[in-house]
């Protein structure tokens, strides 16, 4: 197991390096004068040169690359001060260290993800299991029907409706806002509630459908029938035998969803005027703020790799066949 982890982590580091190198050269070889983008109204050649120097764009590309990569490991110095490792450079647009911006945005993204996750896992898996258990009954039909309708909804569609009902027309709730969890847990909860519910609704529907269908599939497995033939209780068979098998496809999808959510829930953030990683990504790409775009990409890549490893670990936990081969 340890060997597996070491192997996967080493692989992840190599992949991160390759992604870093690839994005760097892809972005920086684009024929575009990034200094000019940061140049205000007085875009004199002198100002342009100053900006170029401040951004480190006056150096040859290999030097810039070396500084970028070594900055990630060892940190580097900027006119703004020392940027400690992992240093992803400095934003063209705000002058902020990219890592700082990301870390500043991350609590919101994490809150959004974790809160939404709790809701949609409990509700989605729960109702999916219920539908599978009650397969063919009215309960199943209602749950399945509702999940099909809801999964065709979109956050940008449902969000404004919920806002309209709870905020704009009645004022029952305040407009969603992020509060620091450690400082104001109550406000944090109320502030995130609408985004959670809206986001979770769409995910819940998807997870309901998925857990229902994989569960039904599993219930038809022969070993599940064997367990019943042994006289095990139906609920025991359901949760111990069938459920275990249906976890594998669920964990796979969950891993992908989580890494996507952690690298920024763009639509949710824009629907509720929240500032997380997603907004950072979109803002930076619109303003051609390359260091930020690259930073967010690397950050997202990190989560994809991390979740991949976690999913593989989960596989090994769930299925001994994976563990031992």
């Amino acid at each position: 197991m340890l060997q597996f982890l070491i192997r996967r982590l080493t692989g992840a580091v190599v992949i991160m390096f390759l992604i870093g190198a690839f994005t760097f050269f892809l972005f920086y070889t684009v024929p575009q004068d990034f200094a000019a983008l940061s140049c205000g109204k007085n875009c004199s050649p002198e100002n342009l040169a100053v900006i170029r120097e401040n951004l480190g764009l006056d150096k040859p590309l290999p030097t810039q690359f070396w500084e970028f990569m070594s900055g990630i490991v060892a940190g580097r110095d900027f006119p703004q001060g020392h940027c400690s490792a992992p240093c992803l450079g400095v934003s063209f647009e705000s002058g902020e260290f990219v890592w700082d911006s990301i870390i500043d945005r991350f609590p919101l993204t994490l809150s959004l993800t974790v809160g939404g996750l709790v809701i949609f896992l409990i509700l989605g898996l729960g109702s999916g299991l219920l539908a599978a258990w009650k397969r063919g009954t009215v309960v199943d039909k209602i749950v399945s029907g509702a999940s099909i309708v809801l999964s065709s909804f979109q956050i940008y569609l449902l969000g404004p409706i919920v806002l309209g009902l709870l905020v704009y027309s009645t004022g029952i709730m305040e407009f969603p806002k992020y509060y620091n969890f450690t400082e104001e847990p109550g406000a944090w909860f109320l502030g995130m509630l609408i985004p959670w519910v809206v986001m979770a609704t769409i995910f819940t529907a998807q997870y309901t459908r998925m857990s229902r269908s994989t569960m039904i599939e599993q219930l038809q497995e022969e070993h599940v029938r064997t367990a019943r033939a042994k006289g095990m209780r139906q609920s025991y068979v359901f949760f111990r035998y069938a459920w275990r098998g249906s976890l594998i496809p669920i964990v796979t999808i969950l891993g992908m969803d989580l890494s996507a959510l952690l690298s920024g829930a763009v639509v949710t953030e824009f629907t509720f005027d929240l500032a997380g990683i997603g907004r950072l990504a979109v803002d930076s790409s619109l303003t051609k703020d390359l260091p930020v775009t690259m930073g967010v990409m690397l950050f997202g890549a990190f989560f994809i790799l991390l979740l991949n490893i976690l999913v593989d670990l989960a596989y090994a936990y769930i299925d001994p066949r994976v563990r031992l081969s």
Partner: protein
């Protein structure tokens, strides 16, 4: 100067990508209160036509006149689409940061605005708007007593010197350059390459500080506009002790009534009262509310929705530099309840269809196109009646000397264009059917909508129009290149202070043609250049006539850019906000007078 290439413009785009803003030009049928608002805007603009007055010591003495009914206490919520571009005064050159600057920064001078919107330049930390001598070549400022930074350090003439000198260093690259270049020439950076940071200073022959309270600016030629230039946010004081160079942009020290309590870049900011600010030293600002909560992630559509609904925290909220979402404009102006919570007024921009004079050399062709532009439709694509107004000339209604009747191309009479006249001119010029024209536009919703309108109009004239879309982030960079391959492009320009000098000089002075400069048409007319030089040395009253002469020469004799429309905006605020008014100085809500009706 100001926006157009600001973060604000880009942020609008952000919202659209997110799908939260619909591209719907306000339809021309918006009825109701429109007329009344136009009249009010015209009136406001009329006030702005008077040249600015320079105030004396009495006018510059605090405290500022109370706003009737104002109460202390509470927090105002500020909605913005994106973060401020800069907070270091030296870097501030756009309106969002300028508006913000009035809350925390102070300069040598500032604008005082009376209830009718009349502007007076008064001393801010200086005792008056400035004493000039030697025909305007030398300007002397005395500092008021009791001016301190947020940590209680008294501000001295050394801090003023520091403020000016740091603009020469590489720390600063985004702010205005008027004063530096007036003092040390266009390549002013060479005069003090490291700024004040390595112990070197400007010689006394340029900038003299004989004692702690006195600052003397010495120019090689008369600079009558200095008090207005110094009132720009870009020349606000940066105390020498507080200067952290590049880091200062994120954590500036306050001299004004509020200071930064918490700042989260790209997200939010909290301002609280600065207890070191003494109202008796300030003739302009108030400190009614306890502080300000900025949320810098609220899309234009969401700002409008929240303010229309006027629920909860939105009651205490304002729009800062953003305006009402064009798609919701009709909802706002047709409902009397929301209508009374709006501020309408001109913005300092004139949208113009710039001709690349290196490519369209025949004035008759330029005139023809100018006649043909359906200006009214172009306005509709930018929010309609509350978004703009058909323009007759190239100077905005916010400038002194604005003449609402000036209309050499008959655009006001025929706002949908005069195709007949245009065709006639083209025939005279001998332009063949199918002549190619390349039109460059920014990939914003507005840019795209206007492209359709313009292309259609030009095709009616028989041109073969090639439209080239340019990424919004690099639009001005692309069209700012001297050898750009485009014939036509829409550009907008706004004043730095209420004087045509800050419009005609940067945009139409042939001496200033350069890559990346703002003379987008590359107009270089000897007569215009001479008029500019003459006006720059004149006192405001006299200069106004010279500017008018230059303006007429540009529009009528050269026509480097067809006037299309004057930009306007409509802002909305919450029902608990008191003292809200259109500020002729900022062209936005009057930030320094606001209070909460029920704190």
């Amino acid at each position: 100067m100001k926006p157009i290439r600001t973060r604000t413009a880009r942020a609008i785009a952000v919202a659209i990508v997110a799908g939260s803003l619909t591209l719907t030009a306000c339809s021309g049928s918006d009825n109701g209160g429109g007329k009344e608002s136009d009249a009010k805007s015209q009136k406001d603009a009329a006030e702005q036509q008077d040249p600015v007055v320079y105030g004396d010591a009495a006018a510059s003495t605090g405290p500022a006149k109370d706003v009737a009914g104002a109460k202390p206490g509470g927090f105002i919520n500020v909605y913005m689409q994106s973060d401020l571009s800069h907070m270091d005064p030296g870097q501030i050159y756009v309106s969002d940061a300028g508006q913000f600057s009035n809350l925390i920064h102070r300069g040598l001078t500032n604008y005082q605005e009376d209830a009718e919107g009349n502007l007076t330049v008064v001393g801010d930390i200086a005792t008056d708007a400035g004493q000039s001598s030697e025909g305007g070549k030398v300007w002397t400022y005395k500092l008021k007593d009791g001016i301190k930074d947020e940590d209680g350090n008294p501000i001295t003439s050394a801090d003023v010197r520091h403020t000016i000198e740091r603009l020469y260093s590489k720390v600063i690259f985004d702010g205005p350059t008027f004063v530096q270049s007036w003092l040390s020439g266009n390549d002013y950076r060479k005069a003090l390459p490291d700024g004040p940071y390595k112990g070197k200073h400007l010689p006394d022959t340029v900038l003299e500080t004989p004692d702690d309270k006195t600052v003397i600016f010495k120019f090689s030629q008369p600079r009558p506009d200095l008090p207005q230039a110094l009132a720009m946010a870009g020349y606000s004081i940066v105390p020498a002790k507080q200067d952290t160079k590049a880091k200062y942009d994120k954590a500036p020290a306050a001299l004004g009534p509020y200071k930064i309590a918490e700042y989260k870049p790209g997200k939010s900011m909290k301002l609280v009262k600065n207890d070191q600010w003494d109202p008796k030293t300030d003739a302009v600002r108030h400190q009614y509310v306890d502080g300000w909560n900025f949320t810098n992630t609220v899309s234009q559509a969401s700002q409008t929705k929240r303010l229309i609904s006027d629920q909860g925290e939105a009651k205490n909220a304002i729009q800062f530099t953003d305006s009402v979402d064009p798609a919701q404009m009709a909802d706002v102006v047709t409902n009397p309840e929301t209508k009374k919570r709006t501020i309408a007024g001109y913005q300092p921009y004139v949208w113009q269809l710039t001709f690349n004079l290196d490519r369209i050399k025949d004035k008759k062709v330029r005139d023809a196109i100018t006649y043909a532009i359906p200006s009214q439709s172009m306005v509709q694509a930018d929010g309609g009646r509350y978004g703009g107004e058909v323009a007759g000339g190239l100077l905005a209604p916010t400038l002194p000397g604005f003449d609402p009747t000036y209309d050499p191309f008959g655009k006001l009479k025929k706002p949908n264009g005069d195709i007949e006249k245009a065709k006639e001119l083209l025939k005279e010029a001998g332009v063949k059917e199918g002549t190619k024209l390349t039109y460059a536009y920014s990939n914003t919703p507005r840019g795209q909508a206007q492209q359709v309108i313009l292309k259609d109009a030009l095709e009616k004239l028989g041109f073969d129009v090639q439209s080239k879309e340019i990424d919004r982030a690099s639009f001005y960079e692309q069209v700012g290149k001297l050898n750009n391959p485009y014939d036509l492009y829409m550009t907008g320009w706004g004043q730095d202070w209420p004087s045509p000098s800050t419009v005609i000089t940067p945009v139409y002075d042939g001496e200033l043609i350069a890559d990346g400069a703002s003379n987008y048409s590359h107009v270089n007319d000897k007569q215009v250049n001479e008029l500019i030089q003459k006006a720059l040395k004149q006192e405001p009253e006299e200069a106004a006539k010279t500017w008018e002469q230059a303006h007429h020469r540009i529009v009528e004799e050269i026509n480097p850019a067809a006037p299309v429309y004057y930009s306007k905006q409509l802002q909305l605020y919450g029902s608990n906000i008191g003292g809200a008014r259109y500020s002729t100085e900022s062209s936005y809500i009057n930030i320094t007078d606001l209070y909460l009706k029920q704190p």
